[in-house]
């Protein structure tokens, strides 16, 4: 006996991870979103729309690893290169503003709402469809702009009904400064920073930065044993090196030229002397600052007393200023702020400030979900082709699903629209004309209205179903008829 189900057409499932919502949930969802959007618009942010589909290249240019490794790439359908569902909102916003010259005349404040799509951390588990509101303040590099955006995110969540909020502040600039101060050459520094991060995967912490540094140590270990290294030495003149290269490699295969290969080889030899020490220093520093988390004054005092503090002065000073502004201008007291220097999220994307707002009190913010997160991404606009204007930017995104989960119930402040369904009593032209006349009149009011179909009339009595005769008289539920009559009553202007 075959224990499998009989061979029948199987239902067509939705794409793994995509979202469908029923009306009740969607109404709550829209209500929360509209409250936040209204509040953000009041603060001078204008709403724009960006495409759901982007060229993959747009996101590869700058998006951090947390994004690029999770892009849902589609076929090159339009001969423009591979396209993808947008994995986040910021890059599309910046591209759109560059296109419309929106960054040429001072700071731009914009907002966008939509879904973003990412492959799950484990790609075979499907997609993550995330509904977000993204808010960006572009063209203002100041710490005041950082504070404005954080306060805006905080206020949006308050408007949505999140009563207890804790702001977690970090600064990937600290890690970048630490790596820079370790004396790594620019290209290696960039590579180290990019790889610092398994890191870049959202939500991951400083321990991954340390792991990444260990991978680099492996690389050097191998380099010192490399046959090519043994075969020559850094003292070789370029000519000798070229001769050796031609002996070893009669044919250069691929897109890299001989000079590119030789130049990098020489740099690698030089680097093999200094890199181990530099990496050790960077790793120590990263470890030291990564372990710091707590209330601002405590963390600042500890950093000032430690040797690490002197190496990351620039980022530290800005962070202090930020906490001050949040307190003085926006009334966000220190007890609602946690400094957490272990945040290494988005290190390939963000250039300085990173922050998240958690649902909950300040005692244990990390155990509650992050409802909103963002940071500063100076340089993004230039990478995307901005020629004139400031390429600085800071922004945040609110995850609507997370906000909904954090809210136990949503108070509705909207009344349900009444639906009137008009059905002519007979097929006469007069009845049709009367029905059409009623339809036109009711259109002027905030009321749902449509004509009855055959199904409406065959079913058990449909609420709101009104029959209209050739002479214009109405038949149906008394309340519905009274409602229509009340709408048709002329407004007394006196």
């Amino acid at each position: 006996m075959n224990t499998l189900h009989p061979m029948v057409e199987r239902p067509v499932a939705k794409v793994k991870g995509t979202i469908s919502r029923n009306e009740t949930i969607l109404q709550s969802f829209d209500l929360i979103a509209s409250r936040m959007i209204a509040r953000i618009r009041q603060a001078g942010y204008r709403t724009i729309q960006t495409p759901d589909l982007d060229l993959v290249e747009l996101h590869e240019r700058k998006s951090g690893a947390a994004i690029t490794t999770r892009i849902l790439e589609l076929a090159d359908a339009f001969s423009q290169g591979p396209v993808c569902m947008r994995p986040e909102l910021t890059v599309g916003v910046v591209r759109s503003l560059i296109e419309s010259d929106g960054l040429n005349a001072g700071p731009a404040r914009v907002m966008v709402r939509g879904s973003v799509y990412r492959l799950s951390e484990e790609p075979r588990n499907g997609l993550q469809q995330i509904e977000q509101i993204g808010v960006e303040l572009l063209g203002d590099p100041s710490v005041e702009a950082d504070a404005e955006v954080i306060a805006m995110a905080d206020e949006a969540l308050r408007t949505a009904g999140i009563t207890r909020r804790t702001i977690r502040l970090g600064d990937v600039g600290l890690i970048l400064e630490a790596v820079t101060s370790a004396g790594l050459p620019e290209e290696t520094r960039r590579a180290v920073i990019e790889t610092l991060a398994d890191t870049a995967a959202a939500g991951q912490g400083i321990e991954h930065v340390e792991n990444a540094l260990e991978h680099w140590a492996d690389w050097l270990g191998d380099q010192s044993r490399s046959k090519v290294s043994v075969a020559s030495s850094k003292e070789n003149h370029n000519q000798d090196l070229q001769r050796l290269f031609h002996q070893l490699v009669p044919h250069v295969v691929g897109r890299r030229t001989e000079s590119e290969i030789l130049s990098r080889l020489q740099q690698k030899w030089e680097l093999s002397e200094s890199l181990p020490e530099s990496l050790k220093k960077a790793s120590k520093l990263v470890h030291e600052i990564g372990g710091l988390a707590g209330v601002p004054s405590d963390i600042f005092n500890r950093l000032e007393a430690s040797p690490a503090g002197s190496l990351i002065q620039k980022s530290l000073s800005r962070l202090k200023q930020l906490v001050q502004i949040l307190n003085r201008r926006y009334g966000i007291t220190e007890d609602r702020i946690r400094i957490d220097l272990s945040i290494a999220r988005g290190i390939g994307f963000y250039s300085g400030l990173v922050f998240g707002i958690h649902d909950g009190n300040e005692a244990e913010p990390l155990k509650t979900p992050e409802l909103s997160g963002g940071g500063r991404y100076d340089g993004l606009a230039s990478v995307l082709g901005l020629k004139n204007g400031s390429d600085s930017g800071v922004g945040f995104a609110v995850g609507l699903d997370r906000v909904m989960s954090a809210l136990h119930h949503v108070d509705s402040d909207e009344t349900e629209t009444r639906l009137i369904i008009i059905s002519p009593e007979d097929n006469s032209d007069e009845a049709e004309a009367a029905a059409s006349d009623l339809y036109t009149k009711l259109l002027k009011y905030s009321v749902g209205i449509r004509f009855a179909t055959q199904a409406d009339q065959m079913d058990t009595p449909t609420p709101g179903l009104i029959f209209i005769s050739a002479d214009g008289s109405l038949r149906g539920n008394t309340q519905d008829i009274d409602f229509i009559k009340s709408l048709e009553t002329p407004i007394d202007n006196n």
Partner: protein
Amino acid sequence: MKLTMNHNAPIDPIRLAIPSKGHLYDGLIEILKSAGYKIRRASDRQYEATIAGHGRFHVVFMRPTDIVEQVQEGRCHLGVTGYDVYAEHSGAATSTSVVIQDLGYGGCRLVVAVPESWIDVTHVMDLAELTQRFKAEGKVFRISTKYGHLTRDFFRKRGIHDYRIVASDGALELHPSLGIADIIVDLTSSGITLKDNRLRELAGGRIIDSAACLIGHTESLKSLIAEGPTSPLALMLDSIDSVRLADGRILIEITGLFQPKLSSKSTQIEKIFGLLSGHGASCLNWSNVNCKGDADGWQVKGLIGTRGLNSCRRALLDSGAISIVGVEPRLCLEHDDHSTFESLKSILT
């Protein structure tokens, strides 16, 4: 869509999906035949078959990637495919279990290979820096492979993110020289094809080791295990275990004469046993035999690997052995040997 199993009814037929041709097919047919499971297939173009004397098995022939999918969905209860194919296509899916990860043939490894001319690139971490250089120059670093998931996982764990996968099914070795990709991630066994195409395997760039493997639909396996140690699944796994254990081993028969003047008989036999055991032999036993008309002869039998026998052959002759005969056994089963069925049972039940 995953199919659900009815745990109360025995699975019948037990559907075994195997590759329709190629080395995965040839190797499996050989193993099954040695194990006493001869597949009856009317022609190469027929995609169904039976197994002589094992009526509950229904064999279907598919592409290796389809086998993974059909086992995942429970339409097939068992399947044989490459471990690389399984790892690429099943991922974290819990509906499938690996029954035997290495069936002992089809061995290869998935590796990162770069052009030989890239003498500055010796370790996979070089790619972290190189991809950054490409990015800084506005170029996209491209990797050709048909193993997109495994490749992404591998590079992600090493913090290498700035590249694009060029999905391709064949002749990847050509891609770097044609400029289609900068490097490739592909299977290799001897490395000769890479070398012939001026490519080189990168240190630290071995992604997985692969071989032909037996997979099963987890729920179906539970149901088959519940039928006990005489069930069709248990018998098939025991038989495959026997074939795998015999693989590479030789059944030896060493004959010699006791030399009473040198030492006692038991000491001489102990020495022979010691020599053989030291080179991996098992199942050793001995008996008195007539040797060249002399009644004082001995014969030792046992199992040993080819390499082990070669290593101790001269010492055996020096210790009184007159002849050494070796034959390849088809099956081999020892009491303490690993049992795939028992392991599977302990994992799944």
